[in-house]
Symmetry: none
Subunit: 198 residues, 4 copies
DNA sequence: AATGAATGAGCCTTCATTCAT
DNA sequence: AATGAATGAAGGCTCATTCAT
């Protein structure tokens, strides 16, 4: 009997396998066979569902983006104030679901691949813009626009930088201390603002 | 024309070609033939002088590291105070010689490759440690040790993050604004310290 | 035409092609492409099924060994006496199926390669031990153990030596005369034994 | 000052290096660079003196042949009787100078290479013919011509076979026992002859 | 829905060989 | 007499991709 409705299951399995493979290998040069093997299917099926390696990688990147987005929405919903919203945006990036080895490796690998693939670059820009706007929504009520822009840029850079460092060291910066570092920056800046206003 | 003493010239040419190739491609998956071609020699010669692709990449990374180190030493020499030293360390990373597209791409690519290559990881650790100690030497006279550690980590993360962002966008953040962002963080932190001391 | 169950066919075809190629070339330095071409497939397929050149060569050697073993078993089954068994063991090595140019060349080539490859050396030892035990089973009822050991060694050496000579000359020693030579040695020794017993 | 008369020294050194390399590697696939390195010269010089790898191998084979021939002549000179001459011919092949690992390996490797190289095959035939005639000169006074032919062939085969076995096992058979094995064959045959004559 | 079979293209690497000095 | 420099040619191997079933 022909199995029906397998497609979405297979797609998900393949994407998860892709993340796992990238996470383990530390880079994108994983083979379609490896990925398919992890998902328990033939590599031909991966092609059947995604068309090619490039598309599978894109789909994977989109999944990463979507998960991060979903996490963000969920966390932001519970944030009552601007300051809390800002904290939430930062926290999400270092949450247990995101700041994991395989995810971190995948992000880093995608950053590099984005140099070659226009589509991946586009996706990464979407993420960057969303992060920026999330940060701005938390910052604008607290500081002048110019300052907010600067801070958003700095926060984003710190997050990316901490991801790299997480990938490089074998385990270190733990999520909590990483987030604390960013928060420390925010606090320093806000305190300065308040001081200026006095 | 003398046909002797070519080795150092070829080595340099090949390493430069490697950086150029990586810079243009945006990642390490450049072929030996491409690199050799850019250097005006056969791929066999590249193997002859370096032994293999892995070693050539390592040599290239070492060159990057050495150049950055030399730049740092040169700049630090002119820094009279702790604060100036701190500024110098930051500035070097965004100097005209370092914060260039091909260099930035190469760094990023090496970060990823370091997941796979132990030797590259080792080299990257050397760089990280050196940056850390340079930052600490500027920070320790200004703030307590614990605070200095935190700031060094944050500054390093921001630098790495700004490199990533430089690689991703096509041109943006210019060196000056990137360095300013880090300096802004430093200022905010130092001011806070001073305030705490009053 | 069904496209399934090709594997065993391809494996056999590739191994046969390997023997043919070695036989024609006279040594193991045949290319995978040549072998694959003879088998009517791409060299990639050969890699797919065997993993690499080394493994294909091993599989080929194993095939040679297996064929010789099967021949031996078949012939030994019909041997009623010890003396007949002894004759059978010798005869098998010079039978039409074994003492052919390509087979002889392959054996010789493998002997040399065995210096480099541990696995091949292991396989060759298996063959040597089997030959020895087959010879001993025919000899022990006829002569004292020490003498049997000596004869087994001598017979084995003569067989190997005749293989070499077969490979070297272009056609000469025909199977019959080669076998006769070994038999002549056996007869001389046995007669001497009997004489000693009188 | 230009060194004069280096040529014969270099040639000898290169040939010795070739034997050493083949002996160690166990086969002819040694590189010119390896050989030249062992001889303490550049690979270019090896080409200069020999023209190419093929010629160097041939020269090496010729050296092996010449040494064996010289050994034979020296030993034969001291042999007073036919029987002693026969024993001498056999003994030479298992003498300390010949039955050494590197020499044995070299012989074996050359046997295989002879399939491909006409010149090597020619050289090997020269050796075979010489061995045959040496054996015949010892045998003809003792046994009828037909029998002598048969014995010469058998002895030659045993010698070759023992060489192979020496190469394969790691050390065994020792020279003495190897020679004894051949002598044992000779004795058995001669005794039989004498018995027939009684 | 799924896969075994099969391949073309490409890359790294090795090595004998040449040549100018 | 000797070598460093340099390369062309070739081989093993990998991998994404296609196709028939």
């Amino acid at each position: 009997m022909p199995k029906i409705g397998m497609e979405p299951l297979r797609r998900r399995a393949l994407i998860d396998a892709t993340i796992a493979a990238i996470g383990e290998r530390g880079s994108l040069d994983v083979t379609m066979s490896d990925i398919a093997g992890r998902a328990g299917v033939s590599s031909a099926l991966a092609h059947h569902y995604f068309g090619g390696k490039g598309e599978l990688l894109q789909a994977t990147m989109r999944k990463l983006l979507a998960d991060l987005g979903a996490d963000a929405v969920k966390t932001l919903r519970k944030a009552p104030t601007s300051r809390a919203r800002l904290a939430a945006v930062i926290a999400v990036n270092f949450s247990a679901g995101q700041f994991r080895e395989e995810i971190v490796h995948a992000w880093l690998a995608f950053y590099v691949e984005a140099q070659k693939s226009q589509e991946l670059r586009r996706l990464l820009r979407v993420y960057a813009r969303r992060l920026h706007s999330n940060l701005m929504s938390g910052l604008l009520p607290l500081v002048p626009r110019a300052e907010a822009e600067r801070m958003a840029e700095a926060i984003a850079a710190m997050i990316d930088g901490l991801y790299i460092r997480r990938a490089l060291r074998d385990g270190l910066p733990n999520p909590a201390s990483a987030a604390a570092l960013v928060e420390d920056y925010v606090e320093a800046k806000l305190r300065k603002m308040r001081a200026a206003n006095d």
